[in-house]
Symmetry: C2
Amino acid sequence: MDTKNIGLRGIEVADTRISKIDGEKGKLIYRGYDILDLTKKSNFEETAYLLLHDDLPRKEEYTEFLDKLAEARWVPKQMQTNMGNWRKDADPMDMLQAFVAALAGYFDEEFSTKEASYDRAINLIAKVPTIVASWQRIRDDEAIIDPDANLSHAANFLHMLTGKKPDEETAKIFDICLILHADHTFNASTFAARQVASTRAHMYSAASAAIGALSGELHGGANYEVMKMLLDIGTEDKVESWIKEVMDKNERIMGMGHAVYKTYDPRAQVLKELSRKLAEKTGEPWFDITQKVEQVTIEQMKKRKGMDIYPNVDLYSASVYYMLKIPMDLNTPIFAISRVAGWAAHIIEEKFAEAAPKPALYRPKAVYVGKYCGPQGCEYKSLDLRTQSS
Amino acid sequence: MDTKNIGLRGIEVADTRISKIDGEKGKLIYRGYDILDLTKKSNFEETAYLLLHDDLPRKEEYTEFLDKLAEARWVPKQMQTNMGNWRKDADPMDMLQAFVAALAGYFDEEFSTKEASYDRAINLIAKVPTIVASWQRIRDDEAIIDPDANLSHAANFLHMLTGKKPDEETAKIFDICLILHADHTFNASTFAARQVASTRAHMYSAASAAIGALSGELHGGANYEVMKMLLDIGTEDKVESWIKEVMDKNERIMGMGHAVYKTYDPRAQVLKELSRKLAEKTGEPWFDITQKVEQVTIEQMKKRKGMDIYPNVDLYSASVYYMLKIPMDLNTPIFAISRVAGWAAHIIEEKFAEAAPKPALYRPKAVYVGKYCGPQGCEYKSLDLRTQSS
């Protein structure tokens, strides 16, 4: 095969108006707006609107969007019953992938229009947090908490998860996390969503596939791996030897390095400050340990390979979620709670792009390097005559 | 963007040893063997083994594989209970996508080894038919039929679906359909499976995503659309005017034309004969109508656009399934029953390729064509100051 295509790195597959990464300058832009600005001035709901549409909402658009989102948080009771009748040790990402696909059975009207797709998008963005929180309550044998339309998207999720209304600062920290993870151009899960949508499959189907892609440890699973690493290290004084040992084995340090950013990932910058703030608030050691991981990895990479390396989005989100008392294996589902806004926007763009070049069903080429006996095929020997080892 | 990359058509993304299409000669080869030869001499179980491994099984390998497949047909009772507690009008593909993802909760040990992946593959190939048949029984308010280890894969599915053991000819016809649909290199659903697997997500997650991609009407959904067309046409004498009318509107005739085959799709050849055979057996008109659709479309395409067009795999599979008395909206799930063998093989190849160039996480490039106000981002105006229409 053409080895420069490996992982499709650098291969232009579509135009997009949704987001732009400037890897050199360390900038991430949603529909023209710098995410750093959005974390300071906006919130997740408005950011979701921005991603779905091509601009920030006007007042009446915003109010309508908020109302629709709050209304759509409810999940059918029958689905919650089914969740209750499930293995309690099921992975939350598997649950989420399954139940997002299942949502289609409840909300499957008029899939084919662009207008209907916006309602599906709202439905998805609103219901993914409810599914995640419901599953957490169910597996802990606790009563499911109904969504509260008076709370923000971030505060409502934390309330449904823990049964406690978060204070304003905690809710804002979580809201910023949601803004930061909401889109990142054609990352692996978004591309999976677009790939599935390119066949004209519906939005739930495409979003469910994206959840599958996000579950992989090379993608959304990474912030779970970071937290495992932090817990394994345990105290700040053990960081240096731990990192060196892993690097001696030529293994990756999770949370460090990114295929696109050649400088500090802007999301990591913000998350680092959130982690610092939470450490001050809680007195927990995870910010200090993470910062030390960053420092030692940078030094060692420079020394061993002469390379610059920077934290990615996963390094500091792990400790932030941990200090927010979110169960570790919900790190990736929380990534999904946010990224679903981007997926929905991309699915709509994939299916309803108005300007040329329009996307087409993705069907790449593979290079056959297997057994070949000419176009007539290899000789089929009957079972009795097969003696070769396979 | 680079418009020659649209739909990734012609872009080499990976090496594969699994299958090869010779679009010029109209040949499809699985691991070196011509599918026409396999339809005559092999069966679906052996073909699945062939796709998963690099050659046909020896006797003891085959026996062990058959035993494992037959044992793995059972689906957890709890899952069937949950299926029973579902909306009866849910689309079977949505159900399948959801429940394949959910399987991971039951069989999630040792995902990380290649050896374990073969067991997952057997599990998937064995259980997908049981899920499809169970759902059909449930939505029809009929008792679920347990798998019968004494029946072949094809016969067992038809038995679980209808409650009747099929005669030998019927079972063989269905078996041939399964062989023909089992793999087709990097089609959209297989590429979705590989895309998800490239993040290191597990096999159920990747297969569930592939089911999502298959559900799209541009992919596996096409044979459902073909049957809708045949029913809409109704009688052979109406074919010509129906086709002309659709072509006048510049719309596609479903089941005709293929991106890769420049001649008769070898699968369509075989399915055409199966459809003819079933029409003789049942006295139904669907073969004659389909053949007329083929003939008129070929004539009209030649006349209108000077182009040659040929039937694809969906044109004749629609009438075959219809005459086998399979509910129309199971056409695509049946495609999945077969294609899951190929998906599993591709997922294993994606994750455990031993020869360079090894696959890497698929993360293509997008070209940002949206709003841009420089790297500092557009000015964020507060809600009160927004007057532009969005």
